[in-house]
């Protein structure tokens, strides 16, 4: 059984279609990274899962139940950290944690103390005096000291400093090890990359890609930059090569996983003197889905070359999904070569 199973979920607010046929699955015991920019529909999805909003259509199942109907029974097994935690100005953080604990019928006292200690939270301060990060910590402590089977976390580290972020990741790993499922919404790629077993990328109310990072990588292309001794004439005919650009002896291209081997062989026959191969990062994957929002590159020639080859092999895809690779290797290479900096 899945912890969360959503198919064809639609939710509209007036004329805005916030969720447009969204599919999402969180398997038992896994951490699912729910990745997307602000406004893509992440929080709306989580709120529907918590029975705070009602779905217009689609099938939503939370721990085998209906999140709108079986609220009380399901919420005993779920803990939530809202995206922007708002505390009662006159109550202390400790009082807020205990209220949530009491509503859940008790919390794990040892864990509460431990978490307050770990996150260096002062539970005797009043809600209004906490910084954003500290408000976030209050909700995190309340959620993690519950005995919930599923943690629903909406951008939980927003406002946390890097040290606390690292501690938070450690705690999530512990939760996972204890067998809990986690739905982690985020727009922080590094966090998802570090924690998630699988990733779902949401865009304009739909999940456009789901899979483990490895699976996604196999779909995405590896970036290659090389300096060749010989000519570059045969390169254009290599299978699976895209975004090829050639400047004197320097070539750059991206290549599908299937074509990587033959591309390396071809390069070898051309006398490689320098080579950088970079596997696709999560950022690349993400940008493949959001590429069109990136402002045009300052480097005219590269931009045009990229556009050109992309347009050529983009035929069958929807116009929304316009991949564009602007990975780190090029940046590095430019610096090395004293390129267009």
């Amino acid at each position: 059984m899945s912890a969360v199973s959503i198919t064809g979920l639609v939710k509209t607010f007036g004329r805005t279609r916030a969720l447009d046929g969204l599919d999402l699955e969180v398997r038992e015991g896994e951490v699912l990274g729910f990745l997307g920019p602000n406004g893509a529909g992440k929080s709306t999805t989580l709120r529907i899962l918590l029975g705070l909003l009602r779905a217009d259509s689609g099938r939503v199942e939370l721990l085998g139940g209906d999140p709108w109907r079986d609220v009380v029974a399901l919420h005993r097994r779920v803990a939530y950290v809202p995206g922007d935690v708002s505390l009662w100005p006159q109550l202390t953080g400790g009082q807020a944690i205990d209220l949530m604990g009491r509503l859940r019928g008790g919390l794990d006292e040892t864990r509460r103390a431990e978490l307050i200690d770990t996150f260096e939270l002062d539970p005797s301060k009043r809600g209004r005096t906490y910084s954003k990060g500290n408000r976030q910590k209050v909700a995190i402590v309340a959620a993690l000291s519950s005995r919930a089977e599923l943690l629903v976390l909406d951008e939980p580290t927003a406002g946390l400093d890097p040290l606390m972020e690292a501690l938070f990741r450690e705690e999530i790993r512990r939760e996972k090890a204890a067998g809990r499922s986690v739905l982690l919404s985020s727009h922080i790629l590094a966090e998802v990359e570090a924690l998630a077993d699988r990733i779902s990328i949401i865009r304009q109310g739909r999940v456009v890609e789901t899979g483990s990072l490895e699976q996604m990588r196999s779909h995405a292309r590896t970036s290659v930059a090389a300096t060749l001794h010989g000519g570059t004439d045969q390169l254009t005919s290599m299978p699976g090569v895209h975004d090829l650009s050639v400047e004197d002896h320097r070539v750059r291209f991206t290549v599908d996983a299937d074509g990587l081997g033959s591309a390396m062989n071809t390069l070898a026959t051309h006398g490689v003197t320098a080579l950088t191969v970079t596997p696709p990062s999560l950022e690349d994957l993400f940008l493949q889905h959001y590429g069109e929002r990136i402002p045009p590159s300052g480097n005219g020639a590269e931009g045009i070359a990229g556009e050109h080859t992309r347009a050529a092999d983009d035929g069958g895809r929807s116009p929304r999904r316009r991949p564009r690779h602007r990975g780190t290797p090029r940046e590095e290479e430019r610096t090395e070569d004293g390129g267009p900096q």
Binding site: W88, Q90, L91, G94, Q95, R104, P123, S124
Partner: protein, 529 residues
Amino acid sequence: MSQLAGAGRLTRFALRLDAWKLVPWIAIIALFPLASYSAYDSLFPTPRDAVVLEVSLQTNPAFTLLFGHATNLETAAGFTTWRIQVFGMFFTALMAIFTVTRHARASEDTGQAELVDSGAVGQHARLASGVLLAWAASAAVAALIAGTLTAAGAAPEDALALGGMLGGMGIAFAGVAAVTAQIGSYARTANALAAAVLVASYVLRGLGDTLEDAEWLLWTNPMGWAELIRPAAENNPGPLALLAAVGIATAAVGARLARRRDFGAGLLRQGTGPDRSTAGISRHTVRLSRGPIASWLATSALLGFVYGIVAGTMSGFFSENPFVQQILAARAATEEDLVFAFVQMLTFIMAIIAAVFGVQLALRFAVEEDERRSEWVLSAPLARARYLAPTVAAALGAPTVAVAVSGTVLGTTAVATGTRADAWLVLLQTLAHAPAVWLAAALALALVGAAPQLRWIAWLALVYWIVLTLFGPVLKAPDWLMDTSPFHVIPRITADDADWAPVVVVLAIAVVLITAGFAAYRRRDLRTV
């Protein structure tokens, strides 16, 4: 003056932000006098009608206590003054208080102020912009009243004096709010402190008007000064100048105090608190409203006490009033009857106070939703109905306690000071208003459950009921219109023909509204923006 740098720009900005909040206040406060002035001729076709009203008002000092002296009803300007002075002063002052607090205090709670203060503006610019905006709004009220009444045919000096009476209150209380904004740590505390000054001022001027040889009490507080302007009678400019001077002086004090506190904190500091708690949702709900509950109960007790003391002076008042002596001589009414008529009026006011209290408690539930704490709380295993229930209980129960307290204090104080009244009957009469109070709260609860964005309707309805119940009979409103006020249909319990059927209707409507509130809250989306 560098401390005020940017104040002008900020005021214009504040005006743009607040225009739509202020326009309804200004329009309602300023057009009410015009409506009343225009209705005068049809209400009182002959001068005799006005004299009849004046005399009948004088048999019941409750009117003087609540609305000030009715001295000059033979003229339209005099009647208008009597009708609107206390309401107008009260609401203009509230408008000024809320405006100043919003800029000087609430914006610190929400973080907007940080953005403003970090700009190239002086240390006092934000406070100054709030005060200036409140002054401008008060001046607009005064100018509108003066202009419209003059255009309608009133003597310009009468119209100006009445406008100045209301505007002057706004100016003075903008200054008071500039001070309280530095004292309270929260916008709500700041508003409550300024409102407490306003209520104290109202009570003091009531005593000054009603008690013998107590006119000096009018000199002790802003609402008293405003009354001493005596529009349409004496038109004194002196007290108006005093109001303006006090407004400026208190604003300056506010600016001085502002330098002695930290950003976001008040002079009344709240330190750390307990780091553990065992409260469930019911105790939690009460805990959030502890401040208002305590202050409203104290207000109820105070009002009961003050009104009880005034009731104690009734005998002296009756013996000096020739009209009352005639009534008593003709055996048209006993002194007990007259006293009870007075007391009934006071119990109505105490019921109104309780209704305001109930509506406020109910509406706080919507604030939790606006500030997105409901979202978090409801992620716990807590049914929506269970979450709403404690608020319903508090909004119905706490005002009931309030009327019981004020009724008990009023009755016992009145009896202790020698009034011919039965304390038990006074308490029962006060409690008889409870269904009307519950209906007001029930409307607020229904709105909170079904459509929190429309919750202002609860306040609108309450103001409508107050105005209708207090002035409807004077303005000869038809019965069907009067019957739209739940407070009007509450019978006098000592009457032989007391009709309780309407009270049952009021109760039934309240039950329907609360049920609808629960049903809608269970079914609707939580507001998330």
